[in-house]
Symmetry: C2
Subunit: 343 residues, 2 copies
DNA sequence: ATGAAAGCGCTAACAC
DNA sequence: GTGTTAGCGCTTTCAT
């Protein structure tokens, strides 16, 4: 890469017969410098095509104005909504965002954390893998006083700020809804993970089941994909007696399961009712429309980014609430609506 | 932010009685340094908790190992697939990626380009807005010899590398397919944009229509959303005679349109056949399943990132092909399958 | 209100 | 194979 000579503050200084320090101050609008001088400096910098060198500046100030985002996968509707929200905030407040995917691998997550650590991000926003994340990687950030905000999939133990939903409550509500619709024998389709998300949903489901005294079983999938959902449907079809209500931990797998059940002649919601999670657009598109729990991804992203940046910019005390819960809502659609409530 | 004292290569040098340059070389595995020395340096750096300071390094090397990505929106399935692909490549090759969304606004796009320019990204990957993008912002990069790779929505005139599909051909194929299925009166649902994507698809559609001598009209939507698709359906229903084939410029709008038509009693594909674009997962989930054109987003992202980085790393001559076309495929599903071809 | 000077941590000639 | 040296461009005391 051959660059043409870059314009520096020294070039401006020479041109204007001033010192570099004056230019530096003027350029950031320091009022200690004469208004007229400031204007001349700005005019000259534009004339010369000056652009500030953030490395030199960062090297001095020890700040990067960059936040690192570590997520399991980029390509889900939920995650891209979260990222879109974060980006809006970051962009508005003058921060850059660098993103890396762990692909659900603890090893990759650790590598990504190290990369971000080494590139000295000012703060981190992270959602963990479904595996048992090794938090030592994140502890490095703490040692260097780099704040972390976790969202969605958070560590078991942490005193970092966490942005998430009440998974227990949401799952409890899902189970209760199925029971309200007359279901007596529920299945919860999820993955075998120690992540709070799945642990809490399972607990909420079990609590709802227990409370009403009906049958409730948990079936673990390899992943929450369309295919896994479909495979699960075929396992369910071999059960005897058949369950009559299914709560799935995301919409994609729920749709996969529902379509397969339907293809095999099961009536939804009459024979088996089904409810997903996330309120992914597909839940509205699929037929029958899928009942689900709304999870406001964009808002989660905005909130997480705001928390982090407000802290970085010193707008907020570090002693704010450690857990920020977003509201979820049960969205009743055709796939559970036996009594034809609402539309 | 109060940082504890950072460990520098000087600390390691002092500890080991070597010079800073030796440390610097050893740390990057320069084989000119003794293997034993290298090992000692690495061991010591770990012991001391050293992390390299990329600003200092960048300041010297005038490289950032960061690529800027400018896209219209983050939260579509197509775009997150592209980004996921780019991230994989960037991560593997030691680059960071910073992302910003233009939200289809030329103004925002220009601001984002300026921000990236000022943060001295080594290269840029961009997909333009549907408005008439002002390329002067991008020209700045050229002036500084910062390479740009455009993908999907590319400028009319450019000698930058572009990664995209043959929109004309794909749309031509879509129209021909509808005609093959017996359609005689086609509508193309798209947006009124000067972007190559929509211009070429429209041209391809018109060419297919013209060639076969059937009727073909273009209807412009405000956006390619579910709602717009649904609105379009209601406009179409007022037409007399009704068209019998619809080609929509994305799957989301196609689904919106199809579901609304169906809700109003139209038989799909018998009365009206419909075909979308992108092969979004929703196209498989919706009922009837939507015929569409596959657009390999992840591959596009990988290819764009590889081109850019290979160039940055000097692996490739700047004189490679300017246009890289990805393959698309017509995926015939229920929404057009009047003759029950394939499955 | 402005300037001088030092230094952030690293790299790459150039020496030896 | 290793060391010396001179910056990269900026910010920030401390002077004046």
């Amino acid at each position: 890469m051959s660059f043409e000579k870059e314009v520096t503050i020294y070039d401006i200084a020479r041109e204007l017969n001033l010192s570099a320090s004056t230019i530096s101050r003027a350029l950031k609008g320091n009022t200690v410098i004469n208004k007229t001088t400031r204007d001349r400096v700005v005019a000259c910098s534009e004339k010369l095509g000056y652009r500030s060198n953030s490395f030199a500046s960062n090297l001095r100030r020890k700040r990067t104005y960059t936040i690192g985002v570590i997520i399991p996968r980029l390509d889900s509707n939920f995650m891209s909504s979260c990222l879109a929200g974060m980006e809006e905030v970051a962009n508005e407040k003058g921060y850059n965002m660098i993103i890396s995917q762990s692909h659900e691998s603890v090893k990759k997550e650790a590598e990504n954390a190290k990369t971000m650590f080494d590139s000295r991000v000012d703060g981190v926003i992270a959602s963990l893998t479904i595996e048992d994340s090794q938090l030592e990687y994140f502890n490095r950030f703490k040692d260097k006083k780099v704040p972390i905000v976790f969202f969605d999939r958070i560590p078991t133990q942490t005193n970092s700020v966490c942005v998430l939903i009440d998974n227990f409550q949401a799952a409890y509500q899902a189970a209760k809804h199925l029971i309200d619709q007359g279901c007596q024998h529920l299945i919860h389709l999820t993955i075998d993970s120690k992540s709070n998300v799945y642990v809490d949903r399972k607990a909420g489901f079990e609590s709802g089941v227990k409370e009403s005294g009906c049958l409730g079983e948990v079936m673990y999938l390899d992943s929450l994909s369309l295919e896994s959902g479909s495979d699960a449907a075929n396992k369910i079809l071999k059960m005897s007696p058949l369950p009559d209500g299914i709560f799935v931990s995301n919409d994609l797998a729920a749709v996969g399961c529902m379509l397969e059940l339907r293809a095999k002649g099961i009536k939804i919601p009459e024979t088996i009712s089904i409810i997903g999670f996330n309120n992914d657009p597909i839940s509205m598109i699929v037929s029958p429309q899928l009942t689900t729990i709304s999870y406001p991804g964009r808002e989660a992203g905005i909130l997480a980014a705001n928390c982090l940046i407000d802290f970085l910019d010193g707008d907020r005390e570090p002693s704010v609430s450690r857990r920020l819960l977003l509201e979820t809502n049960l969205i009743v659609r055709e796939s559970t609506n036996r009594k034809k409530i609402g539309n």
